[in-house]
């Protein structure tokens, strides 16, 4: 059975091979990421049956858990790894034709590094190892945001850099605290010892770590970098950022809060934080006239919704949250990719410039519409089952506070529907000039795959639902995690 370490090793190795391959033949570099991610995706799919019985634990370098670093590949980890490789693959196919000018070699190398960092964070079982992969992820995304090299790009990447480093710093201090208290860095080990320590002392490290990770996963007060970063990065990169980077950050927060600390009475606070992020994200998106900033703010909103779902900590809502997460990765990726080419054709990022795009680029605008409909949660598309699960799970809890929060969720869907439909109307029902020119073949294939995925998930969600429920049980019950790691 193939060793899951390859999931990290192969992209890392290939990332550093990119300059060598480039010097050999200029054309080949573009295909390296595609190959790596194709390999990753196939590997994940082959691992699924094995992981479903019991999670695989690998001890790197032969040391037993409390000392050595171990990888924990449970259904949750595999879900994220598969999602990262899928989204990465689609975006890399898209960027075959999208990234032509500028330092192409650096782009592909950093792209590979970003994905390895993400897969690493998702699979690691060790706190410090989490921090290392987290750093790789952040640094490569700082660089990629400034890829265009124009004034806005550099300025927003610097802002992202400053906030990211502050966050990582806090994370490091938190890990230091934990190491000081428990003397170990292994998550399972810490999880086991957590009960022995008096709860108040644990609070500070938890908040520091959550804040550190929160910066990357765009929770409300910490997400100020996101709108600038996403709007000035090239569309393929902003698709990856909002599709994968934020989700991975959220995974990390969830992993720490649920498995490592597992203090259940903080969940309500996270629920409120999630709703706050959702409302502010939607309100800001409503006030936007620039398409990419609007999509960025809507990402903040969706993250808030997923956080709210995870924070309710029942099997149903977490499955719903994960479903919504998968849906968000796919449809937000689709939106950014289609918006990318529309901006490329129309020249400016303003929504008014997108008038009449329905006639000029019919397939891309159809992709945008499908993505928008699925994000808003209209039935035949993927968003609806996610929202359905979240709301039904929340109502099952029965608390009046939760019902009010659910009301707010539905209200925010209305706002979300407004600004998305406004854009769709601009696409189809307003007359614009410009000749009719289709997007290139690679971009079209990328978009079509995502569209098929969305409709498939929307029409037959049961296929993903079982896998997600096992992933949510993996997240929620601490004991099975600890047991499988320290057996």
């Amino acid at each position: 059975m193939v060793n899951p370490v390859l999931l990290i090793a192969v992209p890392l190795g290939l990332a550093f091979m990119v300059p060598l391959i480039d010097s050999a033949s200029r054309k080949l570099t573009r295909f390296v990421p595609v190959a790596a991610l194709m390999f990753n995706l196939i590997l994940c799919i082959r691992l699924i049956p094995a992981v479903l019985e019991n999670p695989i634990v690998i001890n790197l370098g032969g040391f037993t858990p409390p000392f050595g670093i171990n990888l924990f590949v449970g259904p949750l980890g595999l879900l994220f790894a598969g999602l990262i490789s899928l989204a990465g693959l689609v975006v890399s196919i898209y960027s075959l034709s999208y990234i032509k000018n500028g330092p192409v070699v650096k782009y592909h190398m950093l792209y590979m590094l970003l994905l390895t960092g993400a897969t690493g964070v998702v699979l690691t079982g060790d706190l410090f190892n989490l921090f290392v992969f987290f750093e790789i992820l952040c640094i490569s995304s700082y660089a990629l945001v400034a890829y265009h090299g124009d004034r806005a790009g550099i300025e927003s990447s610097i802002k992202y850099l400053i906030q990211g480093t502050v966050g990582s710093g806090l994370l490091l201090i938190g890990i230091g605290f934990i190491y000081g208290i428990f003397g170990t860095l292994n998550m399972a080990d810490i999880a086991m010892k957590i009960a022995t320590v008096e709860q108040s002392t644990l609070f500070v490290p938890m908040i520091l770590m959550v804040a550190g990770l929160g910066v990357e996963s765009a929770i409300f007060p910490l997400n100020a970098w996101l709108p600038d970063a996403h709007s000035s990065a090239p569309s393929s990169i902003s698709a990856i950022l909002s599709g994968i980077a934020i989700e991975v950050g959220l995974y990390a927060v969830a992993r720490i809060v649920f498995t490592v600390f597992g203090i259940s009475d903080i969940y309500l606070f996270f629920a409120f934080l999630g709703i706050l992020t959702l409302l502010i994200g939607e309100m800001c998106a409503f006030a936007q006239s620039n398409i990419k900033r609007m999509l960025a703010y809507s990402s903040i909103g969706q993250i808030g919704l997923i956080l709210f779902a995870l924070a309710l900590a029942t099997n149903n809502t977490v499955t719903g949250g994960l479903f919504q997460l998968v849906n968000h990765t796919i449809s937000k990726g689709l939106l950014f990719l289609s918006a990318g080419y529309m901006i490329y054709r129309s020249g400016s990022m303003e929504i008014s410039s997108l008038n009449g795009m329905g006639k000029r680029m019919p397939l891309t605008s159809l992709a945008f519409t499908v993505g928008a409909f699925s994000l808003v949660g209209l039935p035949p598309f993927a968003g609806f089952p996610g929202k359905f699960l979240i709301v039904s799970g929340a109502l099952l809890k029965g608390q009046m506070v939760i019902n009010i929060l659910v009301g707010l969720v539905l209200l925010s869907t209305v706002i979300e529907g407004t600004y998305f439909f406004r854009v769709i109307q601009a696409l189809y029902f307003k007359d614009g000039n410009g000749e009719r020119k289709r997007a290139p073949a690679t971009a079209v294939t990328a978009m079509i795959t995502l569209m098929i995925l969305i409709v498939a998930l929307g029409v037959y969600p049961k296929f993903l639902a079982d896998f997600l429920s096992s992933a949510s049980s993996d997240l929620l019950d601490k004991m099975s995690y600890v047991g499988s790691v320290l057996k």
């Binding site: 610097i158 910490l222 203090i263 409909f373 609806f384 009301g407 406004r422 049961k462």
Partner: protein, 620 residues
């Protein structure tokens, strides 16, 4: 594969096929569209008097999604498909000179399929899914002809999303409480629900269906949507789509909450909800009908009447006696027929006069377009409820319930509403068809055959249902029985109820005899000379061309008295809310100031706040 699955498959398959065929050749697509709609009508007709439920899909988290057919769904499905077929036939020539017509036809079929889905769905989940498909395809069609239609479409979709979210909340709360979404099971389970929960259910679903059926406070989207949508579609929109709200009300009040069984229990929440709903219906009758008088645009006038007539249906349904519910359903059917007829005659006028809808600049078209005139005349007779038309029978039933149910003020509101209809609808007929024919319309031709066919068909149904109400009432009686009421004493010519009966055949015979007698008396008189419109009394002077008609400010003496009270306060209120959210969101966006210093300060602030809260109150 029961009939219903075939039907839905054909309907949704049709959508894709029309679009593809449209790419190939327009004539192929037109014939396919007509054939498809006829096939739909035939399939539904074959499913007469069948009841049953089949589960067709378990893919959605294992929740069984089923189709259900009973008398109520059959009636609505039949009306939807017939009117859909007529409007497709009508729009063959109406839309022939427009751009991307295949998109229009495929969306029309999508709406039609969505409606059929809603009507046949056996559980609330598939009901919601088809409801959503119907809503956003209507949105795409309303904003079809550009310009102001875009704003109307946006207003429509926002209100319909609010409605859908309310319905989603209701459906899911039912799912969480009872574990099943199947309507049949729910109707047994909800009886045991606590009054508070029942009221919550009724209100949530009431808001969702109230928005769709444009009950008074939630009606503001309707006038813009009807006016801006392409006319054949606004016919379908006003005829059947808005009446899905009524189907929803029926479903919720009488099936899910099962009100019929204990409606008359004194303290039950349902009867108080119905009472409030009845009063809302009464207000929805009176105010929009008087606002309709102020309108100068033909379609906007009809739109306001759409809202007004919706009030009658709500009144009938909310007043929980068997005659009332039967009257409400019958009025929904009748209203669908004559409002589609009126919109089609306006569309025929628009088609010939190049899109002119303004009531002040038309006139005298009776000589040029007699078929459209006949359609409009019978349409407004139905709308008013002139005896011998179908509107009269259903209004008679509604009044009978109101009066014998000892609610004279509701009856008063309804009667005054019908008088308001008479005034505004006569202005509609007079300004378009009667009076002097303007110079520029001197040489317009008749409307083409496929516009005349639907008008003639609908006009004859109005008279047919008016004279022989037994035909539709037998079906409606089955519905009322299925709701748990005791059946009405229906016969082919009318209704016998304890406090007075209606016999339309005698009425028809009397009026016919009167007509013949008066016609003979008139024939005794000397032969009359046909004369053109210029040979007219103008105190000896020549008839001034194009300026010799009284159309603008038709009811000015009345307007000066009532127009200050008839401003659409709800519309301005909603607009204020929209601006408020826009202003608020601009304010919130200010948080992201753009200086990195602030952002980092937010992070530090967040952590210090957390620690402070923990130390002070230690909630965790």
């Amino acid at each position: 594969m029961t009939g219903m699955e075939i039907l839905l498959l054909v309907a949704f398959g049709g959508v894709m096929l029309t679009y593809i065929l449209g790419r190939i050749s327009s004539s192929l697509r037109n014939t396919f569209a007509v054939v498809l709609s006829l096939v739909l009508v035939v399939i539904i007709a074959l499913m007469y008097d069948k009841t049953g439920e089949t589960i067709f899909y378990r893919g959605f988290f294992g929740i069984p999604m089923s189709f259900r057919i009973d008398a109520l769904s059959w009636l609505f499905a039949m009306a939807t498909s017939v009117l859909g077929c007529l409007s497709v036939i009508f729009s063959l020539s109406y839309m022939s000179d427009r751009k991307n017509i295949s998109f229009y036809y495929s969306m029309l079929f999508l709406v039609n399929a969505g409606m059929l889905g809603v009507v046949f769905s056996g559980d609330l989940l598939s009901f919601f899914i088809f409801w959503e498909i119907m809503s956003w395809s209507t949105f795409l069609l309303i904003s079809f002809n550009r310009g102001p239609a875009v704003a109307a479409g946006l207003k429509y979709i926002i209100m319909s999303i609010i409605g859908s979210m309310a319905m989603l909340a209701g459906t899911i709360s039912l799912y969480t409480n009872y574990g099943t979404l199947n309507i049949a099971d729910l109707s047994h389970l909800t009886v045991s629900a606590s009054p508070g929960y029942q009221l919550f259910l009724l209100i949530i679903f009431g808001v969702a269906f109230g928005i769709k059926n444009a009950v008074m406070p939630l009606h503001t989207w309707l006038p813009d949507a009807y006016t801006e949508a392409p006319s054949p579609f606004s016919a379908v929109l006003s005829g059947m789509l808005t009446r899905m709200g009524i189907y929803g009300f029926l479903l919720i009040i009488y099936v899910v909450v099962g009100a019929a069984r204990f409606l008359h229990a004194a303290d039950s929440t349902v009867s108080s909800f119905n009472y409030v709903l009845a009063w809302l219906g009464a207000i929805t009758i009176v105010i929009p009908t008087f606002i309709a008088m102020l309108q100068n645009d033909a379609k906007r006038l009809l739109a306001w009447h759409g809202i007004g007539q919706g009030g009658y249906m709500i009144l009938g349904i909310a007043f929980g006696t068997n005659m009332g519910v039967a009257g409400g359903i019958f009025h929904t059917l009748n209203h669908a027929i004559y409002i589609v007829l009126l919109f089609m005659s306006v569309a025929a006028i628009q088609y010939r006069t190049g899109g002119v809808r303004d009531l002040n600049s038309l006139g005298g078209l009776i000589k040029k377009m007699p078929v459209a005139f006949i359609g409009a005349l019978l349409g407004i007779c139905g709308l008013i409820g002139v005896p011998l038309t179908n509107g009269f029978v259903s209004k008679w039933m509604i009044y009978k319930t109101l009066i014998s149910g000892r609610a004279p003020f509701l009856a008063f509101a309804a009667l005054i509403g019908s008088w308001g209809t008479i005034l505004s609808v006569y202005k509609f007929l007079h300004n378009i068809f009667l009076g002097q024919l303007p110079e520029k319309y001197r040489d317009i031709k008749q409307s083409p055959f496929n516009m005349k066919l639907p008008i003639i068909v609908l006009s004859s149904t109005i008279l047919l249902f008016g004279i022989l109400p037994g035909l539709p009432l037998r079906v409606i009686n089955k519905i009322v029985v299925s709701f748990g009421f005791d059946s009405l004493n229906i016969s082919l010519w009318g209704i016998v109820s304890e406090s007075g009966m209606l016999n339309t055949i005698n009425l028809f015979a009397a009026i016919l005899a009167g007509l013949i007698a008066v016609w003979l008396f008139f024939r005794i008189g000397a032969r009359t000379i046909p004369v053109k419109q210029d040979d007219n009394y103008a105190a000896g002077a020549a008839v001034p061309r194009d300026r010799y008609s009284y159309t603008a400010k038709y009811y000015d003496p009345l307007f000066r008295m009532i127009s200050p009270y008839l401003k659409d306060i709800f519309n301005t209120f909603y607009m204020k809310i929209a601006d408020l959210t826009g202003y608020l969101s601009n304010g919130i966006r200010k948080i992201y100031t753009g200086y990195v210093g602030n952002y980092v300060m937010y992070i530090v602030l967040f952590i210090s706040l957390m620690i402070f809260v923990q130390m002070k109150w230690s909630p965790w």
